[in-house]
């Protein structure tokens, strides 16, 4: 067992809620008042498969669960599951709903090594590498002489069509680094 601070929860973490293990599907932090924050968590009970939403103060402590983990690569989608494969070509299916928060980055043939977590030998969650590289399919062109002072703009990723804010100099076809924990653009590679 380990301690997880609510503020640090992210998709794929497994914690104990009401005595039962749950896997975090999504954790969103919102600032409330006087520099405090609350964390809204969507989680799936690993015993009942029931999905529910709960909320915590950002500094609440939760009981984490040490789970078996394996490095895998994404293989393909077979509705309703995503399939990951390890070095020995064992396939592991994880239902799309559980990792719905990651689907914006999952593409066929992706090379990044992901970490698959198992609960009683059952694959239950995936954590992507902190940094991934994706191609920009569309973004507004940079206008010469633009003095509006805008330092960011929206870009659409190839394949997943996910939208995120990127620096104003990013162009269509650029490869960019994205931080999967924060969802933020980090830098342009090309």
């Amino acid at each position: 067992m380990s301690v997880k601070i609510a503020n640090n929860l992210q998709s794929g973490n497994v914690v104990i809620l009401e005595g039962e293990p749950v896997v975090v599907i999504k954790a969103v932090i919102n600032k409330s008042g006087r520099n405090q924050a609350v964390v809204k968590v969507k989680a799936k009970n690993l015993l009942t498969n029931r999905v529910s939403e709960v909320i915590f103060k950002s500094d609440d402590k939760l009981e984490g669960v040490m789970m078996e983990k394996k490095d895998c690569k994404y293989s393909y989608f077979s509705a309703p599951n995503h399939v990951f494969v390890d070095d020995e070509f064992n396939e592991y299916e994880i239902d799309a709903e559980t990792i719905s928060d990651l689907e914006k980055y999952i593409v066929d043939g992706m090379e990044e090594v992901c970490e698959v977590t198992f609960y009683e030998e059952r694959p239950i969650s995936v954590v992507l590498p902190k940094i991934i590289v994706r191609e920009v399919e569309y973004t507004e062109p940079v206008v010469r002489g633009d003095t509006s002072g805008k330092i960011s703009k929206t870009a659409v990723l190839k394949e997943t069509k996910h939208e995120l804010q990127v620096s104003a100099f990013v162009e269509i076809g650029d490869k960019i680094e994205i931080d999967t924990e924060t969802g933020e653009f980090r830098k342009r590679l090309t």
Binding site: K31, S32, G33, R34, N35, E53, V54
Partner: protein, 376 residues
């Protein structure tokens, strides 16, 4: 209210002098008055409380007031019976021994964390979500005040708006005369001032002094009176009246909550801060200017924007109001934006009445709280 479970413990830690206890005291009184709730209010700082309620004995561990039990919340928390409904205000940490006692009850109490007020959209999705306790079979529900029917609403006593409507200009003069304020001098604009430390205040006072309108500023004690005194170069005590050109400032004594309500009703424009006075300024149905509690990373500006978006929807001069509020909460030249703001105050007052009518169609906070408790 069903009386089968009606004992309430409300816990309040005072962080900002009057905001936390202001909200808790209003809520406690409304629950007791209108819902027959048996209230025990735990407060860690009775000195701050005594400003709102001068009859409070600041060194008493237990006292009774307006049908409620007021308890001094000391670090060495006593052994007490756990109430049926437990409210921790603004995520204050309950005493560990009390939480243990909650867990030992046959029927777990209904445990509510009364959160801060915000107009942001995420509040609607977070209102009433449960928070399971790490060790005990207890669940706390997060109760978010707000401006929409899917939040916990705002504190609004049952007769507040009717009493407000009946309060006319002669009542205002009578009330202000009791504070030593002379009858309105022609077109004089009456302003109430309640704010945190605010770097924009000296420039605004100068604008008022040099501007075309006669302005009387009624200054609340504490940070506002201190800052105005600094600008004047002399102390502004309650009852003192000082003039600089077109500006007259007058120090006020500390007012009770009901007295402060009447001050808001009697003034033409109200400067308010934090949460409690911000809500009361809306019920006053007068143009108001909000200084939001400043937070790190400018989080407060997002919250300010969220409120302005809701409040100023369909108001044609929304940009004028927005600009002045933003200046009051930040930086930049405030004089011109004041002149623009004051020029739209008549239409803003009408708009504020419409806004309040809209809020009045949603249930108030105490009502929502009671419905949640008894719907459980």
């Amino acid at each position: 209210m069903q009386n089968n479970i009606s004992r309430w413990d409300i816990f309040c830690t005072v962080i900002d002098n009057y905001g936390d206890i202001g909200v808790c005291w209003r809520l406690a009184r409304q629950l007791a008055d209108e819902y027959d709730a048996d209230i025990r209010l735990w407060v860690d700082n009775l000195d701050s409380f005594s400003h709102l309620c001068p009859t409070i004995v600041t060194d008493a561990d237990v006292q009774h007031l307006e049908g409620m039990q007021i308890r001094r919340w000391r670090p060495d928390f006593p052994t007490v019976d756990v109430a049926d409904i437990v409210i921790e205000a603004f995520a204050c940490e309950l005493p560990a021994s009390y939480v243990e006692a909650m867990a030992e009850r046959k029927i777990a109490p209904i445990w509510i964390n009364l959160e801060y007020l915000s107009a942001e959209d995420w509040v609607d999705d977070s209102h009433l979500l449960a928070s399971p306790h790490k060790h005990h079979p207890l669940k706390k529900h997060f109760f978010f005040p707000g401006f929409t029917p899917t939040t916990g609403g705002l504190i609004r006593e049952r007769d507040l708006l009717s009493v407000r409507s009946a309060f006319d200009e002669s009542d205002a003069d009578k009330f202000l005369a009791g504070l030593g304020v002379p009858p309105r001098d022609g077109t004089e604009i009456r302003v109430s001032l309640f704010c945190y430390d605010n770097a924009m205040l000296p420039e605004l006072l100068q604008e008022w002094a040099d501007g075309p309108d006669r302005i009387r500023v009624l200054v609340t004690p504490g940070a506002p009176a201190r800052q105005v005194g600094d600008w004047l170069g002399e102390q502004l005590l309650p009852g003192t009246q000082l003039c600089r050109n077109k500006l007259t400032v007058q120090g006020l004594p500390f007012l009770s909550q009901s007295g402060y309500d009447r001050l808001l009703w009697a003034c033409d424009i109200n400067f308010v801060r934090g949460e409690d006075s911000f809500v009361r300024a809306q019920w006053a149905q007068r143009p108001f200017v909000w200084q939001i509690y400043p937070q790190t990373e400018n989080t407060h500006l997002i919250k300010l924007e969220a409120f302005l978006t809701r409040y100023l929807q369909n108001f044609p001069e929304s940009e004028t109001v927005k600009r002045f509020w933003q200046r009051w909460n930040g930086s930049g030249e405030i004089g011109a934006s004041w002149r623009d703001f004051v020029a739209v105050r008549a239409s803003l007052e009408l708009h504020t009445k419409v806004w309040v009518g809209q809020l009045d169609r949603t249930r108030n906070l105490a009502d929502n709280l009671v419905r949640f408790v008894f719907g459980k």
